[in-house]
């Protein structure tokens, strides 16, 4: 037991989780913005924009996240010298956020589209009947209801994003929890199972309330019909 507690003096476990939470937070914001834009493109009447949206979703939904993140550090940074900031470590952090956002935007787009499916036909007809064209109809009538119908699938994407933030380990973000767990196990091989359980339970503690919260919110905010 004393051995186990001494781990927390040597290694800053909460800080590692904090890195994952930060990655999740920024990636969630960017993915939500990009995903909404893609969903708008996919439901718009303009064929070329539909095509862009559909291609984006099909490409990124079918690519492993690990490749995207690895591409960020090996390709964008290593080969093309793309840097999002002067700070060496912060750059990896931001490239990981970029990769996570690009990947999850495809799933956000599909979640919002499934939300659009929950909006009754009459709503779109009514919007047209009072003379709204596509964009105002989408902004004022369709999307507000679609978002409320999409909370449950969006919540699933958020949970996946929290867990996937560990893949930033492939993008040289050494401060996040999967990398820290690896270091800790390598140095303290006598405590393999307690170390794993610590991190696993940490994720359970983060993920399960998010799941309960989004389920509750999707019921609470569902459009009464």
């Amino acid at each position: 037991m004393e051995n186990y507690l001494s781990l927390f003096e040597t290694y800053n476990v909460p800080a590692a989780f904090w890195v994952n939470i930060q990655l999740t937070f920024w990636a969630a914001i960017w993915a939500l913005a990009l995903g909404t834009l893609l969903a708008l493109m996919r439901i718009s009447p303009i064929a070329s924009l539909q095509w862009i949206g559909a291609s984006y979703v099909n490409i990124f939904r079918n690519t492993p996240l690990t490749i995207i993140i690895a591409f960020g550090v090996l390709g964008l940074f290593g080969q093309l010298q793309v840097s999002l900031t002067e700070d060496f470590n912060l750059n990896f952090f931001r490239l990981a956020i970029l990769g996570l956002s690009v990947y999850h935007a495809a799933f956000v787009c599909e979640a919002i589209r499934s939300g659009v499916n929950t909006v009754p036909l009459g709503q779109a007809e009514a919007a047209r009947a009072i003379g709204l064209s596509f964009l105002p109809a989408a902004r004022l009538v369709i999307l507000p209801q679609a978002f409320r119908g999409a909370i449950a699938p969006l919540g699933n994407v958020l949970i996946a994003l929290i867990k996937n933030s560990t893949v930033a380990a492939a993008g040289s973000v050494a401060a996040e929890s999967a990398s820290l767990m690896k270091t800790m196990i390598e140095f303290r091989g006598d405590l393999v199972i307690p170390i794993f359980l610590t991190f696993a339970v940490g994720f359970v503690i983060i993920v399960i309330p998010v799941g309960l919260l989004t389920t509750w919110a999707s019921r609470k905010l569902a459009v009464a019909r």
Binding site: I43, P45, I46, A47, S48, L49, Q50, W51, I52, N58, R61, N62, T63, P64, L65, T66, I67, F71, L74, G75, G78, Q79, L80, Q81, H104, F107, E110, R113, N117, T118, V119, L121, G122, A124, R128, S133, A137, I142, P153, N156, A160, K163, N164, T166, V167, A170, A178, M181, K182, I185, G189, V192, F196, F199, A200, F203, V204, V207, I208, R225
Partner: protein, 301 residues
């Protein structure tokens, strides 16, 4: 699917003009993005023949890409089989009439669904490697992590499939003298599996994508080999793009299969929603709601 037609009317002359303008802008946008990419990559010397010709040589494929793909497919195929086995066990456990068994299965499922696959993979890799329990710790770690996570997801699929069945199925089983477990095994679960087949195939996409996590622990799968090839030939970007392309093609084929299956099977599972006529709901060509989830394709994990 057909929601697109719902949001706007058949266009009149003015709307047709607007759509045309929009299309021109869209095409210009695509062209601009592509041109920018080509110029940017060209400036960095990424489009020179030397960066691409390695993919015309057989040794790149023979020693790097194909062995990597083989390892990826091997891990994914084994993980699919073991995940289904674990999923069946846990799924039947969650549906058992014995409360403790139900709780235990529920606890296992919820735990492994909440823990990132990468954490499990690193744990098994280091734990197995330390104790010299197996010959190839990276491979076994990939399989174990994929199995525990996807087995839990499949258990949930089976559970929701069984719960979506008409009550009469179970009652009929009981009426002819089956025990609850017999009725589950030979009546309910087989039907649930068929109904959930599209979602199951979508889960295979997740397994294939997640097998790329093996890259992080050094399993010689497609991404790892593509990186090695790229480092050797000095064409990392091109190698990673080829690896991504291979993944996209396989996964796209699997996703298409899932969509086809769900269309094919929709008549088999139409038994329950007989009485709930869509009262002005959703799309004009209504597909029952439970189908939509399956049509969504691979999930982000």
């Amino acid at each position: 699917m057909s929601v697109q037609q719902v949001l706007f009317d058949a266009p009149g002359p003015k709307a047709r003009r607007n759509i045309l303008v929009g299309n021109i802008i869209g095409v210009l946008l695509i062209a601009a993005i592509l041109t920018y990419l080509v110029i940017a990559l060209g400036d960095k010397g990424q489009l020179t023949a030397a960066k691409w010709t390695p993919f015309l040589e057989s040794r790149s494929w023979e020693f790097f890409i194909l062995p990597g793909l083989l390892n990826t497919l091997k891990a994914a195929a084994i993980a699919v089989v073991t995940s289904i086995a674990v999923g069946l066990l846990l799924g039947i456990g969650r549906l058992s009439h014995l409360a403790p068994l139900r709780w235990l299965a529920g606890l296992i499922v919820e735990f492994f669904r909440a823990v990132p696959v990468l954490l499990m993979m690193i744990f098994f890799w280091l734990a197995l490697g330390r104790n010299n329990l197996v010959d190839d710790p990276t491979f076994v770690a990939v399989i174990l992590a994929l199995t525990l996570y996807n087995g839990s997801v499949i258990a949930e699929l089976i559970r929701s499939g069984v719960q979506g069945l008409p009550k009469g199925q179970r009652e009929a089983g009981m009426a002819i003298g089956m025990t609850p477990i017999q009725s589950l095994r030979s009546i309910e679960v087989p039907q649930a599996l068929i109904a959930m087949l599209p979602a199951l195939v979508s889960q295979f996409v997740v397994i294939l994508k997640d097998s790329a996590l093996g890259y992080i622990i050094g399993y010689a799968e497609l991404l790892q080999n593509a990186r090695r090839l790229g480092v050797g030939e000095g064409n990392l970007i091109q190698s990673l793009l080829i690896a991504a392309l291979v993944f996209i093609l396989i996964n796209f084929a699997l996703s298409t299969l899932a969509t086809r299956l769900s269309a094919l099977l929709s008549f088999r599972t139409r038994a329950t929603p007989r009485k709930q006529q869509p009262t002005g709901a959703a799309a004009p060509a209504p597909s029952p709601p439970q189908r939509d989830a399956a049509e969504e394709g691979p999930s982000p994990v």
